[in-house]
C-alpha cells in the first residue's frame, strides 16, 4: 500500500532523512518511534508530500507521489493526516470542520456532507459538540474532531504525528481509544508516538528511527523486549 525507496530529505545543508526504505501493507498499523529530531515527523510529512522529497520514491497504491506529474491533491484525499497540534479551523464549528473538505473538494452536497459529518462526530463521541467552535473544546475533543475531519474524506491510509503529545494526561485515553477502534476496523495507519504501551498494543510493526534512518524494525513484542541495535536499546532504556 505504501512503498518507500531510499527516501532522502534535506533542509538546506541539513540531512534530515538519509535513505529510508520501507513498506506498509494494507490494514497494517506501523508505529514509528525514535528520539526527538530523528526525522519522524519529516518522514510522515513526506508520505503526503507536505514536505517534498529530495531524493527517492514513494508509491502509494502504486502511484509514484514524488513524480511531479502526479496530482498530489488526489493522493491527499486518500491519505488522512492528524497533527500533534490538532490544527482545527478556528472559524468553523466542529461540524463545519468535518464537512468542509467533502463539500469543497469532493463536491458533495452540503446537507449530505453534514449528515456524514454528524455520523463521524457521533463515532468519536462528540455529537453534542457539533455546533461548538474549536476554542470551546478540550484538547482531547479537538483531536477527536481532527480525526473525524480526516476520516470524512474516506482515506485509505491515516497518518498520525504524535496525536496525544500536546494533550493533558487525562485526555490521552479518549484519543487513543478512537485510534484503537480504527485499527480494529482495519485502517492502514502510520503512527508516530511516544506512547509505548499503545504502540505495543495496536502496532503490527514498529520502526525505530535515529538520525534520519530506520535503525531497526520488527513486531512490537520483539523490538521492545529484545532490541538488537545498541541505539534502540539506549533509547528504550531511557523511556521504558
Amino acid at each position: 500500500m505504501i512503498r518507500v525507496t531510499n527516501l532522502k530529505k534535506n533542509f538546506g545543508r541539513l540531512e534530515v532523512l538519509r535513505g529510508i526504505s520501507c513498506q506498509v501493507e494494507e490494514q497494517e498499523v506501523v508505529v514509528v518511534i525514535g528520539p526527538s529530531g530523528s526525522g519522524k515527523s519529516t518522514f510522515l510529512r513526506c508520505l503526503n508530500q507536505l514536505e517534498a522529497a529530495t531524493e527517492g520514491q514513494i508509491y502509494i497504491n502504486g502511484v509514484n507521489i514524488t513524480d511531479p506529474r502526479t496530482n498530489i491533491n488526489k493522493v491527499r484525499e486518500e491519505v488522512g493526516m492528524v497533527f500533534q497540534r490538532f490544527n482545527l479551523f478556528p472559524h468553523k464549528t466542529a461540524l463545519q470542520n468535518v464537512a468542509l473538505a467533502p463539500i469543497k473538494v469532493k463536491k458533495i452536497p452540503p446537507p449530505q456532507a453534514e449528515e456524514m459529518a454528524m455520523k463521524l462526530l457521533t463515532r468519536v463521541g462528540l455529537e453534542d459538540k457539533a455546533h461548538q467552535y474549536p476554542d470551546k473544546l478540550s484538547g482531547g475533543q479537538q483531536q477527536r474532531v481532527a480525526i473525524a475531519r480526516a476520516l470524512a474524506m474516506h482515506p485509505k491510509i491515516m497518518l498520525f504525528d504524535e496525536p496525544t503529545s500536546s494533550l493533558d494526561p487525562e485526555m490521552v485515553g479518549e484519543v487513543l481509544e478512537v485510534i484503537r477502534d480504527l485499527a480494529r476496523e482495519g485502517m492502514t495507519m502510520v503512527v508516530v508516538t511516544h506512547e509505548m504501551g499503545f504502540a505495543r498494543e495496536v502496532g503490527d510493526r514498529v520502526l525505530f528511527m535515529d538520525e534520519g534512518l530506520i535503525v531497526e524494525e520488527g513486531p512490537p513484542q520483539e523490538l521492545f523486549s529484545s532490541p538488537k541495535n545498541k541505539r534502540t536499546q539506549a533509547f528504550l532504556s531511557k523511556i521504558l
Binding site: 491533491n73 484525499e77 491519505v79 493526516m81 490544527n87 482545527l88 468553523k92 468542509l100 480526516a150
Partner: protein
C-alpha cells in the same frame, strides 16, 4: 479677539459638500484599494518569484514616494505620456486622477496589511487544509483568508482614517473636497482662522466617527470570534 461664526455658518453648504466628497473619495479609494491590496498580497505571499518581485516593487514604490508626487504623476505626467503615445492631446478630469492615485496608494498599504494578516495565520492551518486534498487556492479562500481578514480589520480601520486625511492632498489638483473648500472660502473671506478651524473640526468629526465604528466592529467580531 473676535471669532466670526457667521463666516462658518454662511459657508456651511460648501463645507458640507467638501465633507461629502472627501468621504466618498475615501470610501472609493479604500474600496478599490482593498481589491488591489488583496491581489498584491496574494502575489507577495505566492511562491512564484516574478510575482513576488512585481508585488514588492509596487508596494515599495507607492509606500516609498510621497502621495503628492503620485497625484502629480497621475494627473500631469500620465496624460502627457498617453498623449505622446496616442499622438493626440489626452486629458482626464481631476476626479478620475484623484481616485486613481488614492486607490493605487491605499492598495499598497492594504497589501501590506493583508500580507501581515495572512502570514500571522499559523502554518498548520495551510497544512491541515492541504492534507485534506484542498488546492492552494481552496485553502487560501476557505481557511486562510477568512481568518486573515478578521485580523486585518483594526489596521484597515487605521488605513481608512489615514486615507481620509491624506485625501486632502488632492486639493492641489483643484478637486473640491473638504480641504479645497476651505482654501476657497478662506481666500474669499480672508478669515483663515474660522475657516481652517472649521475644516479641522470636520475632519476630526469624521475620523472620530470612523474609529468609533471600527472599535464597535472589533468588539462585535471579538465576542463571536469564530462566527463566519
Amino acid at each position: 479677539m473676535d471669532f466670526r461664526w457667521d463666516v462658518i455658518l454662511n459657508n456651511l453648504p460648501l463645507l458640507f459638500r467638501g465633507v461629502s466628497l472627501t468621504f466618498q473619495l475615501t470610501v472609493i479609494a479604500v474600496g478599490i484599494g482593498t481589491i488591489i491590496g488583496l491581489v498584491f498580497a496574494l502575489m507577495r505571499v505566492s511562491h512564484f518569484r516574478p510575482l513576488v518581485w512585481l508585488a514588492k516593487g509596487y508596494i515599495d514604490f507607492l509606500r516609498g514616494t510621497p502621495l503628492l508626487v503620485q497625484i502629480s504623476l497621475v494627473h500631469y505626467a500620465a496624460p502627457q505620456f498617453v498623449s505622446q503615445l496616442l499622438g493626440r492631446q489626452t486629458n482626464w478630469p481631476a476626479l478620475i486622477s484623484a481616485i486613481i492615485a488614492l486607490s493605487l496608494n491605499s492598495g499598497a498599504y492594504i497589501a501590506e496589511i493583508f500580507r501581515g494578516g495572512i502570514q500571522s495565520i499559523e502554518r498548520g492551518q495551510m497544512e491541515a487544509a492541504r492534507s485534506l486534498g484542498m488546492t492552494y487556492g481552496q485553502a487560501m479562500r476557505y481557511i486562510i483568508l477568512p481568518q486573515a481578514f478578521r485580523r486585518s480589520i483594526p489596521p484597515l480601520g487605521n488605513e481608512f482614517i489615514a486615507m481620509l486625511k491624506d485625501s486632502s492632498l488632492v486639493s492641489v489638483i483643484a478637486l473640491h473636497e473638504l480641504m479645497m473648500a476651505g482654501r476657497v472660502i478662506a481666500g474669499r473671506t480672508f478669515r483663515p482662522l474660522e475657516v481652517y478651524m472649521a475644516v479641522a473640526i470636520l475632519y476630526l468629526l469624521m475620523t472620530m466617527t470612523i474609529s468609533q465604528f471600527v472599535s464597535y466592529m472589533e468588539r462585535r467580531l471579538g465576542k463571536s470570534d469564530q462566527s463566519d
